[in-house]
């Protein structure tokens, strides 16, 4: 498993320092500090409500942190939000498409939001990448849930951004397409794109991610490679038999004294 093939880079592509975010009085992120390098696929893990989407929406300059500092490709997120936005492609957890428009028109419409001009040929190529070329002229409302997911991903890739922020992008996509999309994402990372990927899918984590971060109740409890995770777990006195069991242990509820057995 090639989880450690990160390239040597000088400066972190994404730098998060002591970031907190509140909804009302309730914190959804607390003092998160993290570095993500160029060409890396960084997996964001954590149970429901842990703050994964909150973190990704901050990185995509949609919401601003209450405190702390975020730098993306050398740009300050607060002061240079507009420039940051042109460099990122955001795949939201919920599908963001105009249901009454066709696949083609959705891609064209999303392309209007970027600075870069994108030709129709490029859009069709993108459509082929997510295997939707046969649906080019169909209305989004007539697509299946998985197809919409694919288009949701494609929309984030339109302006060829350097950084991809993907919030559970492959939920509900069939195994075959999911593998293809995972392969595609890995190729993108190999070609120098930086990817932050939130998922609940064990095999995706293991296949895609060079490094992972584990969030629980808004606190980043671990960040590092799978190998580093294994070391940490070992120090706590556990010896997982497989990578799957390792991930399972990482996400285990800390309030339990002894982890539940893994099957």
């Amino acid at each position: 498993m090639d989880t450690c093939d990160s390239e040597v880079v000088d400066k972190a592509m994404i730098q998060i320092e002591n970031v907190s975010k509140f909804y009302g009085k309730k914190p959804s992120l607390q003092g998160v500090t993290l570095k993500i390098e160029k060409g890396e696929v960084f997996g964001v893990l954590g149970p429901n409500g842990a703050g994964k989407s909150t973190l990704l929406s901050i990185l995509s300059a949609i919401s601003m942190p209450a405190s702390g500092r975020v730098e993306i490709n050398g740009l300050d997120l607060k002061k240079q939000a507009k420039l940051v936005r042109e460099q990122i492609g955001y795949v939201p957890q919920d599908i963001a498409l105009w249901e009454h428009l066709t696949v083609k028109d959705n891609l064209i419409f999303w392309s209007k939001f970027s600075k870069r001009r994108v030709s129709k040929e490029e859009l069709f190529e993108l459509c082929r990448t997510v295997r939707l070329q046969g649906k080019w002229n169909e209305k989004v409302s007539s697509l299946s849930g998985g197809m919409k997911r694919k288009l949701n991903i494609a929309a984030a890739l339109i302006h060829n951004p350097d950084i991809l922020l993907m919030d559970e992008p492959t939920v509900g996509i069939d195994i075959q397409s999911k593998l293809e999309i995972n392969q595609y994402i890995r190729d993108l990372a190999r070609n120098g794109k930086t990817i932050v990927y939130s998922t609940h899918d064990m095999s995706e984590i293991l296949y895609l991610c060079n490094r992972i971060g584990v969030l629980k109740s808004g606190v980043l409890q671990f960040s590092g490679t799978i190998a580093e995770a294994r070391e940490m777990v070992k120090r706590k006195g556990f010896l997982p038999n497989s990578d799957e069991e390792l991930i399972y242990l990482l996400l285990q509820d800390d309030s339990l004294e002894k982890p539940l057995p893994y099957f």
Partner: protein, 383 residues
């Protein structure tokens, strides 16, 4: 600014028949249809009466002419037999017979039994018509009496004159006292109308412009529904793009405004061509201002509501209530002075009452701009 989002929105509206229906058919089509029905209904409110002229004199002809000139009376001049049949069939409310010798009797100062009334058990408005006819007859008798008296005075003072010329001059002078308002009428009516200026607006009782204000506001609300539909996920996602949400909101609204503007222009053209309103550029400008206010108002309302169903219900109620209070259906200001004072805050007032540029116009424009900014601020929350 890159305008391709607006261009795309315009294309989208053009390609979707439903949006065209909302923008063009609701304000213009429904205004014309409902306006036509209302006008027809108003015609039916006229009281039908039959009149039989047995005298065939100058005075009787003048009387018939003046009664048929009354707005609320529809007059059939028929023979006796026909009139009886019409009354029996309820085609007319009542029948008035100008008896032979009507003119002669008036000239000799007699008024009794010069006109006969036939009524049926179903006659309802006969009393009103009787008043109208009595007033017209009184006009004739007082003219005659005045002329007789002038000639008599001249004679008693031994003034040399052509007595028939003097009589005619006195008659004409007295008659002219009845114009423009009948003598012996107190001007207590239409006080509010005069104050609010509706009487001077130049489109009289036409229901069309009133209805247009209602349907245009409705159209604006219905075409602002995209905000409610898209404000969740789509607006959130749009905030992660280079051009961003504010640009999207502005361009979409501008595109929508252009369509409504075209609708207004078309309405103005049709209204002028059909003589509903006068060809006044100022009026067109006021219609544009009204439209701008409606659109800002609907966008602002849409920024508060998250459910599309509730949005439709709320906007429908809103538009109807504002329509009633603002005078889209009838001049409510005439009912109470409170409503009259209140009416200045409704945008309909721009067109229906003042009907000319005044201090209200810039106030409404700035109010609309403020609503606009508030709406954008609400939708573009720094999460």
């Amino acid at each position: 600014m890159n305008l391709s989002i607006a261009y795309f929105k315009i294309r989208e509206i053009l390609l979707h028949p439903l949006s065209l229906v909302l923008i063009f058919f609701i304000p213009l089509g429904l205004t014309l249809i409902v306006g036509h029905l209302v006008e027809k209904g108003q015609k039916q409110l006229e009281i039908p009466i039959a009149i039989i002229d047995e005298d065939h004199s100058d005075f009787s002809r003048l009387l018939v002419e003046r009664i048929s000139g009354q707005a609320k009376i529809h007059l059939y001049q028929v023979s006796g037999e026909k009139a009886e049949r019409m009354l029996l069939r309820n085609d007319v409310d009542s029948v008035f017979v100008i008896k032979k010798g009507f003119q002669k009797r008036l000239l000799t100062g007699e008024r009794e039994q010069s006109i006969e009334v036939w009524i049926s058990p179903f006659s309802m408005a006969e009393g009103i018509v009787r008043e109208v006819i009595a007033s017209e007859t009184a006009r004739l008798t007082s003219d005659v009496k005045a002329a007789d008296w002038v000639v008599k005075v001249y004679k008693s003072l031994d003034i040399q004159m052509d007595s028939s010329k003097t009589w005619n001059a006195a008659y004409d002078y007295t008659d002219s006292q009845w114009e423009p308002e009948p003598l012996m009428t107190i001007q207590y009516d239409q006080l509010y109308l005069e104050e609010s200026g509706a009487g001077k607006s130049g489109f009289g009782d036409s229901p069309y412009l009133r209805l247009w204000t209602f349907f245009t506001m409705l159209g604006c609300f219905l075409t602002s529904d995209w905000i409610v539909r898209e404000k969740g996920v789509l607006f959130f996602r749009i905030q992660s793009t280079y051009h961003g949400l504010v640009s999207y909101l502005i361009q979409n609204t501008v595109a929508l405004f252009l369509f409504h503007l075209f609708q207004t222009l078309l309405t103005f053209y049709i209204f002028v061509k059909t003589n509903i309103i006068q060809m006044r550029p100022e009026l067109l400008l006021l219609m544009f201002v009204y439209l701008f206010v409606c659109l800002s108002f609907s966008i602002w309302s849409a920024s508060f509501i998250n459910q599309i169903g509730s949005y439709y219900i709320v906007s429908f109620l809103f538009v109807i209530i504002i329509g009633i209070l603002g005078g889209s259906f009838f001049p409510v200001q005439e009912f109470s002075s409170t409503l009259l004072k209140l009416s200045v805050i409704f945008p309909q007032n721009l067109l229906l009452s003042s009907n000319q540029m005044n201090i209200q116009t810039p106030l409404f424009i700035s109010g609309a701009i403020v609503l606009w900014i508030l709406a954008i601020r609400r939708l573009w929350i720094k999460r």
